[in-house]
C-alpha cells in the first residue's frame, strides 16, 4: 500500500488514485514545428528507472485534482508530492546519483 500525501486532502491510500503517467514529459511547445520524432518521443518513449520516478496521479476518488508525486519505484517510498505546477526535487536526485 502506498500512501500519497495529496496537497489538498492529506495522506490517502493509493487506491483512491489513478496513475496518470510520467511527469517529466513536456508537450512540444510549438506543435506545428514539432517533428514526428518529437511527437514519438513525447507520446511513446518512456524510461523504466529503478529508483526515483516523477509521475502524475489523479485523486479520482477524492478531490479529483492531479497530483505530482516523486516515488521510488524500487521501494514505493513517496519522496515528495505536490501540485502539477510544483517543482519537486527530482533533478537534484538525478544529479546526485
Amino acid at each position: 500500500m502506498i500512501r500519497i500525501p495529496c496537497p489538498y486532502c492529506g495522506p490517502r491510500d493509493h487506491d483512491e488514485f489513478s496513475y496518470a503517467g510520467d511527469a517529466t514529459k513536456v508537450r512540444p511547445a510549438d506543435p506545428a514545428a514539432a517533428t514526428p520524432e518529437d511527437w514519438h518521443r513525447y507520446v511513446y518513449l518512456r524510461d523504466n528507472p529503478r529508483g526515483a520516478h516523477l509521475e502524475y496521479w489523479h485523486h479520482v476518488q477524492g478531490c479529483r485534482a492531479y497530483v505530482k508525486v516523486l516515488r521510488d519505484t524500487a521501494t514505493h517510498e513517496v519522496l515528495a508530492a505536490g501540485l502539477p505546477s510544483d517543482d519537486l526535487p527530482f533533478e537534484d536526485l538525478e544529479a546526485g546519483r
Binding site: R3, Y8, C9, R12, D13, E16, Q61, C63, R64, A65
Partner: protein, 209 residues
C-alpha cells in the same frame, strides 16, 4: 429547433430513496449494553447542488454566495453552515451545497452564482445521504476507509471525499459527538447500506424511520 430551456417542463415526481425498498426500521445485530452502537437514518427531502468556479472566478463567486446565502464557502477539507444552507468542500474551487427542498436552493444559487462565474448543477437525484451516529460510528467507518477519523485529525465540520468499502462517498463530520453524514451515489446506495449494516452488526445498529 426550439431552445431546450424553452421547452415546457412537466413537474418531476417526488424523489424516493433507493433504500425505501430495503429499509425496515428496527434494531439489528448484536444486542449492545446501553443501546445500539450505531443509529442510521435516511436524510430525505434535501437538495444537493454542486457549485464550480470557472477559472479565476473563485473570489467573486465567494463574495456572491456570501451576499446571497449568508454563507462563507469553506476551504479544503472543511464544511460550513450558514442560515439554512450547508456547504461541503469537494475539490479545488468546487463545493456541494445542501438545503431542504423547500428552500429552492438551486434557483437561488443559480441567480447568485452564475453572474459571478459559477457553474451550478443540481445533483439531488444522484445522491443518497445517510446520517450515522452513536458510540461505534468511527469504528464502523474505519473498516471501510483509510482516512483518519480520530477527532484530532477529523474535527467537527471536517469533510473528506474518499472510498468507503470501495464506493465513492463524501464524509461530513457534523457538530456533536460522533455524527457523520455519508453522501453516496444513488445507484450504489443499497451496496453502501449493506456494507454499513455488515460493518455495524458487531456493535448493534438501529435503523430509524
Amino acid at each position: 429547433m426550439a431552445d431546450a430551456t424553452s421547452l415546457p417542463q412537466a413537474p418531476l415526481p417526488p424523489r424516493r430513496s433507493p433504500l425505501d425498498a430495503v429499509w425496515v426500521a428496527g434494531d439489528y445485530g448484536a444486542a449492545a449494553v446501553g443501546g445500539p452502537g450505531v443509529t442510521m437514518l435516511r436524510r430525505s427531502g434535501l437538495s444537493s447542488v454542486q457549485l464550480d468556479a470557472r477559472r479565476g472566478t473563485a473570489a467573486s463567486l465567494r463574495a456572491a454566495v456570501a451576499g446571497a446565502l449568508g454563507l462563507a464557502l469553506p476551504g479544503p477539507g472543511r464544511a460550513a453552515s450558514g442560515g439554512e444552507v450547508r456547504a461541503l468542500w469537494l475539490g479545488p474551487d468546487r463545493w456541494m451545497l445542501l438545503a431542504e427542498d423547500t428552500f429552492a436552493l438551486e434557483a437561488k444559487l443559480r441567480a447568485a452564482a452564475e453572474p459571478a462565474g459559477g457553474v451550478v448543477v443540481d445533483q439531488s437525484h444522484g445522491r443518497t445521504i445517510l446520517r450515522l451516529s452513536g458510540p461505534a460510528v468511527r469504528e464502523v467507518l474505519a473498516k471501510g476507509t483509510g482516512v483518519d477519523l480520530h477527532p484530532r485529525a477529523f474535527a467537527e465540520d471536517a469533510v473528506a471525499q474518499t472510498g468507503l468499502f470501495h464506493l465513492a462517498v463524501t464524509l461530513d463530520r457534523r457538530r456533536g459527538t460522533g455524527t457523520f453524514d455519508v453522501h453516496g451515489m444513488r445507484g450504489f446506495a443499497q451496496s453502501l447500506f449493506e456494507s454499513l449494516c455488515e460493518a455495524a452488526a458487531e456493535f448493534g445498529y438501529r435503523l430509524s424511520e
